[in-house]
């Protein structure tokens, strides 16, 4: 008696599935999208802020009496460490995407995920971007978001909006709800 229902069951499963497929194409998903901008936009992103508390502590660096503590993907806390028993916060330099830094003379070289910034820090209250370079990211910097952003996604496939070079330079990436884009990364 029950056997005659089986084909119906199969057909309905099939129908349901195909509905799902169509729906998926129209559904918005969480994906990484490029932010386009100019060198001036990048300059405007590098700013000083009053000292703030440590949160997601990354790498450390010392330069003369200064101690620099990376706030992962956000920037650098700067301390006056001339007395290591009493390090004094000077300020926070916002460098979006930053993980690594190195300093020579008064220039700080800092990665921003989308490229390397050269920042004149002679006057710590007024860091000035003097150069931005994407060569070290090779070709892929214009093609895919940085690893630290993809690692936040669960699942093996992370979708991102394929960058369009005609729209300009990719200066950062952000997460948005968009229609499923063509580009993706397999983790």
């Amino acid at each position: 008696m029950k056997i005659k229902y089986i084909p119906i069951l199969f057909i309905s499963i099939f129908l349901l599935n195909s509905c799902d497929d169509k729906k998926k194409d129209l559904e918005k998903i969480s994906a990484i999208t490029p932010v386009y901008g100019t060198l001036d936009d990048l300059k405007a992103m590098i700013t000083t802020q009053p000292p703030r508390s440590l949160n997601s502590v990354g790498k450390i660096y010392t330069y003369n009496q200064l101690l620099l503590v990376n706030e992962q993907f956000e920037g650098v806390h700067i301390f006056d460490n001339s007395d290591p028993s009493d390090p004094k916060p000077i300020q926070f330099i916002q460098i979006p995407g930053n993980v690594d830094i190195a300093i020579k003379d008064q220039y700080a070289y800092a990665d921003m995920g989308v490229g390397m910034a050269t920042i004149n820090i002679e006057d710590l209250t007024n860091p000035v971007l003097t150069h931005f370079d994407q060569a070290y990211l090779g070709e892929k910097h214009q093609q895919r978001p940085p690893q630290h952003m993809t690692s936040n996604f669960s699942g093996n496939k992370v979708y991102f909006e394929c960058p369009d070079p005609t729209k300009g330079m990719v200066i950062s990436w952000e997460i948005n709800e968009i229609l499923k884009p063509e580009c993706f990364i397999i983790k």
Partner: protein, 261 residues
């Protein structure tokens, strides 16, 4: 995937719990100096990075080790670094420079490059080990490299400290291996080597590099990198920044702590 999820959850848990501590956050300090009071007194020279750095400056060049390549920039015009060359590599984690050489910690071993010509590093040797994650530092003729298996890429790896004789840069040789729990960053002061090993800073006497001797351990949960700056040791952990003075015996005595909020 389960492992990764667990890992993420435990990290979140760790961060959440560490938030409950009495924090002396930098912003709560009353002695905040305004930036204008502190300028770079001696605006010359190069800074010091922790052992897990991917950027290093040597011979007026900036070397960047990304996961899959080594990139070289000339700093002749310091405000406008000029890209010079690139070499494709695999599984690179850290870079360290000393005199005429670069030492790259990779997942498969330590790579040594000669930078006599700083624009194009010449790879002269590889100290191979099984797949693990490893920073490397060098003092004189000896390189110290930690290997750990705790991260995702190195799950099949081992946890240990390797001492490598690099007197002959073209033929690095293992001198000693010490088993550890989950070592990451490390730093050296004279004959004392300090290693972040899970929840401790372990102090080894390496006056005989072929026989590193564990002298003592200082508790420091989540310790992951170290800078030795003269008599001061700066450690970073998932709780914040910890500074110690290094006594004659190599013993660490706490100077200050900047806790996370």
């Amino acid at each position: 995937m389960k492992n990764i999820n667990l890992y993420i959850i435990s990290i979140i848990a760790l961060f959440t719990f560490s938030c409950n501590q009495d924090a002396t956050s930098p912003s709560s300090s009353t002695s905040t100096k305004s930036g204008s009071e502190v300028s770079i007194n001696n605006p010359s020279g190069t800074g010091t990075s922790g052992s897990t750095a991917r950027f290093t400056i040597a011979k007026n060049h900036l070397y960047i080790a990304t996961e899959d390549a080594l990139y070289v920039y000339s700093l002749e015009k310091p405000d406008q670094p000029v890209f010079q060359s690139q070499q494709n590599l695999f599984g690179v984690e850290t870079i360290f420079s000393l005199e005429n050489h670069l030492y790259l910690g990779t997942q498969t071993g330590v790579l040594i490059f000669d930078i006599t010509n700083p624009n194009s590093p010449n790879r002269i040797s590889t100290y191979r080990h099984i797949t693990s994650c490893d920073p490397v530092i060098v003092q004189g003729d000896f390189a110290f490299s930690t290997l750990r298996n705790s991260s995702d890429q190195c799950r099949r790896g081992i946890n240990c400290l390797d001492v490598i004789n690099v007197a002959d840069k073209s033929n690095p040789k293992q001198l000693a291996r010490v088993n550890l729990d989950g070592p990451i960053g490390l730093g050296i002061h004279n004959q004392y080597l300090y290693v972040c090993d899970n929840d401790y800073i372990k102090q080894f006497d390496v006056s005989d590099p072929s026989n590193p001797t564990l002298i003592r351990s200082n508790g420091l949960p989540g310790c992951f990198d170290i800078i030795v700056n003269g008599q001061t040791l700066i450690a970073v952990s998932n709780q914040g920044i910890h500074q110690y003075s290094i006594e004659q015996s190599g013993q660490l005595s706490s100077l200050s702590t900047i806790l996370k909020d």
